[in-house]
C-alpha cells in the first residue's frame, strides 16, 4: 500500500496539482496582461481590431464588422466628420464569420448600436479563380467544417485570450494606443489596379456560401436583431476577391432574411471609384481615397434610411473632434 501511494498516487496528485496551477495561471494571464481589453489600450497589432473596447459605454451608433476589406474601406472618422455618426470598424485579416460573431457579442456587452454593417467578403475563403463553383458542398463537408480544428481552436482562443494576444511582449512598452482611427486601417498608398475581363459580368449562376459560414452569418443577423439593431449586408469594392456569382449568393441570403444588401462592386461608377488611384494593393483593398468615397455613400445611405442622431454638436462626444484631428494628421 505504501509503495502504491509513493509510486503511483503521489505522482498522480503532483500531476493534477500541476495541471490545476497551469489553468489558474492561464486564466489569470488571460484576464490581465493578455486580455482583449488590454490589447486595445497599448499599441500593438490588435489595437485597431479591439479598439471598440476603448469606446465609452453605450456610445456607438453604428458598427461595421468584417475582414480586411472592411477595415480598409470603411472609415469611421470620415463618417463622424461628414455626418456626425459615431461608429467603429471591427475587422482583422482573414477574419471569419465565427470570429465576427464572437466579436459582436463582445460589442453588445456594453454597446447598443442602432445599425450593423456586415461585410460579406469574409463569407468566402478563397479568391473566385480558386473555386470550382459547380462543385456542391457535400453534407459530409459540412460535418467536417464543424469538426475542423480551426473552429475548435477559435473556441479555445475565445475562452483564453492569451492564445490570441500572446505576442503583446513584442510591442513597445507602455505606449498607449490612441484611438484615432476607430478600427479603420489608414493607408494612402496608391497601387493602380488592372481589373480582369469579365469582372462582375452578369450571370444567373450563384456561388453558394459554405454552410458553416452561412450559419454564422445567420447567427450574427439574429443576434443583432435580438439586441435591437438593424442589419445591412455590404461588400466593398474588391475586384480580386469578388464576383457576380458571389453577389447572387448574398442576394439570395439577403432576400431570404429580409435584409438590404449594398454591393459596391456594382456601383463603382456611381461612387466614382478610380482603379488608378483608390486601391493600396492589386485590387483587394481600398486605400484612404477609396474608403472616403465608400464612407460618403454610406453616410448618405444612413441619413436617408435611418434616424440616427448627428452627434457633432453633442458635448459628450467632443472627444471625437479631437480624435478626428489626430486622424487627419496622418494625411500630412
Amino acid at each position: 500500500m505504501k509503495e502504491m501511494i509513493k509510486g503511483y498516487i503521489k505522482p498522480c496528485i503532483k500531476i493534477l496539482a500541476f495541471v490545476l496551477a497551469f489553468f489558474i495561471l492561464l486564466e489569470c494571464l488571460s484576464v490581465t496582461y493578455f486580455s482583449k481589453a488590454r490589447a486595445s489600450q497599448y499599441n500593438n497589432k490588435y489595437s485597431e481590431t479591439m479598439s471598440f473596447f476603448n469606446e465609452p459605454a453605450n456610445t456607438l451608433q453604428i458598427v461595421g464588422i468584417g475582414n480586411s476589406d472592411l477595415y480598409s474601406g470603411f472609415c469611421p472618422p470620415e463618417l463622424w466628420h461628414n455626418y456626425g455618426y459615431v461608429s467603429t470598424s471591427i475587422g482583422s485579416p482573414r477574419q471569419t464569420p465565427q470570429q465576427s460573431l464572437d466579436l459582436l457579442k463582445e460589442v453588445y456587452s456594453n454597446q447598443k448600436p442602432r445599425l450593423v454593417f456586415i461585410e460579406c467578403d469574409m463569407l468566402y475563403d478563397e479568391p473566385p479563380e480558386n473555386v470550382d463553383i459547380k462543385k456542391d458542398e457535400r453534407d459530409i463537408d459540412v460535418f467536417f467544417d464543424y469538426l475542423s480544428p480551426d473552429s475548435f481552436d477559435e473556441g479555445v482562443k475565445n475562452v483564453f485570450p492569451i492564445f490570441t494576444f500572446h505576442d503583446r511582449w513584442k510591442n513597445k512598452k507602455g505606449v498607449r494606443f490612441a484611438n484615432k482611427n476607430h478600427g479603420y486601417k489608414f493607408s494612402n498608398k496608391v497601387v493602380p489596379v488592372k481589373v480582369h475581363e469579365g469582372f462582375m459580368n452578369k450571370t444567373d449562376v450563384s456561388e453558394k456560401i459554405v454552410k458553416i459560414h452561412g450559419k454564422n452569418l445567420k447567427a450574427m443577423v439574429n443576434y443583432c436583431r435580438k439586441n435591437g439593431s438593424d442589419v445591412v449586408l455590404m461588400t466593398l469594392p474588391s475586384p480580386s476577391s469578388w464576383s457576380y456569382e458571389r453577389h447572387n449568393a448574398v442576394v439570395e441570403f439577403a432576400d431570404a432574411n429580409n435584409l438590404d444588401f449594398i454591393d459596391f462592386n456594382l456601383m463603382l461608377d456611381e461612387i466614382n471609384i478610380d482603379f488608378a488611384k483608390d486601391f493600396r494593393d492589386k485590387g483587394n483593398h481600398l486605400n484612404y481615397y477609396g474608403a472616403k468615397k465608400v464612407t460618403e455613400y454610406l453616410g448618405e445611405y444612413i441619413s436617408k434610411n435611418y434616424e440616427i442622431e448627428d452627434m457633432r454638436k453633442n458635448k459628450d462626444y467632443a472627444y471625437w473632434h479631437k480624435s478626428y484631428r489626430q486622424f487627419k494628421g496622418q494625411l500630412v
Binding site: P11, C12, F22, L25, F144, L147, V156, K157, I162, T164
Partner: protein, 525 residues
C-alpha cells in the same frame, strides 16, 4: 489536416483518446487507440479513408497468405527426406516471393496512382510531346508512411521474422496509428505492433517524461521553426528579388526550419507515445554533428534510411545478380573497388528511392541523386584522399579535422536543402548561381529594414532558441541526457521549469494573427 500542434489535436483527438486509454483495462487499450486513430484519420483526411482501408485489408490478407506458405513449407520440410528439403525450401520461397510481390504491387500501386499519376503524365507529355490531361486524385493522408510500413510488415513475414497477425484490426492499428501516420516515424511491426499487445497501465513517471519531451518538441516547432518560416517564404517565394547573401540566409533558415519542425514534431509524437507507455522509434540523432553524408543520413530521418537500407539496399546487394557482379569485379579491381562497385549500383536505387519518396517531381529525384553523386565521389576518391592526408601529415582523428568534416557536411546538406525547397530545378539553379554572381553584404542593410518579415525581437527569439537547441545537442553528444537530469530534480524545480517551458511555447510561439499558417512540411510527402 489536423496539425499535431493544434488545440484540437491535443484536447479533442489525442486528449479524449488518452483519457479513455488510461481508464480502459490493459487488454482493451489497443481498441481505444484503434478507434481514436480512425476518428483522427477520418476527420483529418475529410473522409478520404478508402485507400487506407483497402491497403489494410490487402496487407492483412497477404500477410496471412505468406504465413500459410511459411507454415506449409515447415511441415513439408519436416516430413520430406533430407535430399528433398532444399528443393522444397526453394519452391516455397519462390511462391512467397510471388505473393510478396503481389502485396507490394497492391500497396505500392495505390501509392503510385494516388501520388505519382500526374508526375508520370507530365513526364510522358514532355518526353513524347503529348497533351494528356492531368487527373484529379486526392492524395490520401499519410500514404507515403503507411505504405512503407505495410511493405516492411509483409517483407518481415516473408523472411520469417515474426508471424502474421491474424486479427485484421491489429494490422489496422499498426498502419493507422495516429502518432505515426502523418509524419512518421516509419515504424516496424516488431517495434510497434508488438507493443500494442502489451500495453500497460498508466505510469506517472513515463507521463512526466513524455510531457517534457512534448514541450521541447513544441519549442522547436512552434517557437523556432514556425518563426523562421516567415523569412524562408519571403526569400524562396520571391526569389527573383533576392540574390547573393540573401539566398544564403534563406537556405540556412530553411535548414533550421526543416530540422526544428521535423525533429520537433518527432519529439511531440515520441513524447505522446511515451506518455502512453509506448516506445516510438527515434528519427533524429543530432544530424548536424555528422562528419559525412553517410553519417548524416544515419542521424536524419533515421527510420526512412533504415527502411531503404533493409528493404532496398540489402535485397538488391545480396541478390544473385549482384553477388555475381561482385565476383566479376574482384577479378578486375582490388578489394576496395570490387566491393564498392556493386554497392554503388545498389545505392543508386536507394537514393533514387529516397528522392522519389519525398515527392512527385524531378527536383526530389535530383535531391536524392545529389547525395548519391557526392557519396560516390567520396567513396571512390577515399583511397586517394587517405594517401593525400598521410602525405600532408594531416591527422584525420584530430578534433580540428572532425570539425572540418562537420562543416563540410553542413555545407553539402545546405546545398541539398536549396534543391529541396526551391520551386523547381531551374529556380534552384538560378538561386545557386546568384549566390556567386551577385554576392554582397548590402542585403544586410536592405533586409534589415524590412527584416524579411521578422523584427528584432523575432531574431532574438530565434538566436536564443538555436542556442538552446545547440546546448542540448552538445550535451547529448557528450552522453548527457538532459531529460533524465530534469526528471531527477526536486519536484518544485521540475514544476517551475516545466511551467516555464509550456509558457515559452504559449507566449513566444509563432502562431495566430500576423503569422502565416505553417503546414507540417513532411505531412505533404
Amino acid at each position: 489536416m489536423i496539425s499535431y500542434t493544434s488545440f484540437a489535436f491535443f484536447i479533442l483527438y489525442f486528449g479524449i483518446t488518452f483519457l479513455l486509454y488510461t481508464i480502459a483495462p490493459c487488454k482493451a487499450k489497443w481498441c481505444v487507440l484503434l478507434v481514436g486513430s480512425y476518428v483522427f484519420y477520418f476527420v483529418s483526411s475529410k473522409g478520404h479513408i478508402l485507400p487506407l482501408i483497402i491497403a489494410t485489408i490487402a496487407v492483412w490478407a497477404i500477410g496471412l497468405w505468406l504465413q500459410r506458405l511459411n507454415d506449409i513449407q515447415k511441415v513439408k520440410r519436416k516430413e520430406a527426406p533430407k535430399e528433398e528439403r532444399k528443393s522444397i525450401k526453394a519452391l516455397y520461397t519462390k511462391y512467397r516471393q510471388w505473393v510478396l510481390a503481389l502485396g507490394v504491387a497492391i500497396t505500392f500501386g495505390i501509392l503510385l496512382v494516388c501520388k505519382y499519376s500526374n508526375f508520370f503524365i507530365d513526364t510522358t507529355n514532355s518526353i513524347l510531346g503529348l497533351n494528356i490531361n492531368n487527373v484529379s486524385i486526392i492524395q490520401p493522408l499519410g500514404i507515403s508512411f503507411y505504405t512503407l510500413q505495410a511493405i516492411s510488415y509483409l517483407t518481415d513475414i516473408h523472411h520469417g521474422k515474426f508471424e502474421a497477425e491474424k486479427n485484421p484490426l491489429r494490422v489496422s492499428l499498426f498502419l493507422s496509428f495516429m502518432l505515426t501516420i502523418v509524419e512518421g516515424p516509419v515504424a516496424r511491426y516488431d517495434q510497434l505492433g508488438r507493443q500494442f499487445k502489451e500495453l500497460k497501465a498508466f505510469d506517472p513517471q513515463a507521463f512526466v517524461s513524455g510531457a517534457i519531451r512534448i514541450c521541447w518538441g513544441l519549442i522547436k516547432k512552434v517557437v523556432i521553426a514556425d518563426r523562421t518560416a516567415e523569412l524562408v517564404n519571403a526569400v524562396f517565394d520571391n526569389h527573383e528579388n533576392y540574390s547573393g547573401l540573401a539566398v544564403v540566409i534563406g537556405i540556412l533558415f530553411y535548414t533550421l526550419q526543416l530540422y526544428c519542425e521535423f525533429s520537433g514534431v518527432m519529439d511531440v509524437v515520441c513524447g505522446l507515445g511515451e506518455a502512453m507507455g509506448i516506445k516510438m522509434p527515434e528519427n533524429f540523432n543530432r544530424p548536424f554533428f555528422a562528419r559525412s553524408i553517410n553519417e548524416f543520413w544515419q542521424r536524419w530521418h533515421i527510420t526512412l534510411g533504415a527502411w531503404l537500407r533493409d528493404y532496398i539496399f540489402y535485397p538488391i546487394s545480396l541478390s544473385k545478380p549482384f553477388m555475381s557482379l561482385s565476383k566479376s569485379a574482384r577479378k578486375k579491381f582490388d578489394a576496395y573497388y570490387s566491393n564498392l562497385i556493386p554497392t554503388a549500383v545498389a545505392l543508386f536505387f536507394v537514393w533514387f528511392g529516397n528522392g522519389f519518396w519525398h515527392g512527385a517531381g524531378w527536383k526530389y529525384i535530383t535531391y536524392g541523386l545529389y547525395y548519391y553523386a557526392l557519396m560516390m565521389l567520396g567513396l571512390f576518391l577515399e583511397p586517394m584522399f587517405r594517401r593525400l592526408c598521410s602525405a600532408l601529415k594531416i591527422n584525420r582523428e584530430s578534433k580540428g579535422f572532425h570539425f572540418f568534416q562537420m562543416a563540410r557536411t553542413f555545407v553539402i546538406v545546405n546545398f541539398g536543402m536549396l534543391i529541396f525547397r526551391a520551386d523547381d530545378l531551374k529556380t534552384a539553379w538560378e538561386m545557386l548561381k546568384s549566390i556567386f554572381t551577385d554576392f554582397s553584404f548590402s542585403i544586410l542593410r536592405v533586409g534589415a529594414k524590412n527584416g524579411f518579415g521578422l523584427d528584432v525581437k523575432d531574431y532574438i527569439v530565434i538566436v536564443v532558441g538555436v542556442l538552446l537547441v545547440l546546448i542540448v545537442s552538445i550535451l547529448g553528444e557528450k552522453g548527457i541526457n538532459v531529460r533524465e537530469r530534469i526528471l531527477a530534480l526536486p519536484f518544485i524545480v521540475k514544476f517551475i521549469l516545466f511551467m516555464v517551458m509550456i509558457y515559452s511555447v504559449i507566449i513566444f510561439g509563432a502562431y495566430g494573427e500576423g503569422y502565416g499558417v505553417v503546414d507540417l512540411i513532411y505531412a505533404n510527402f
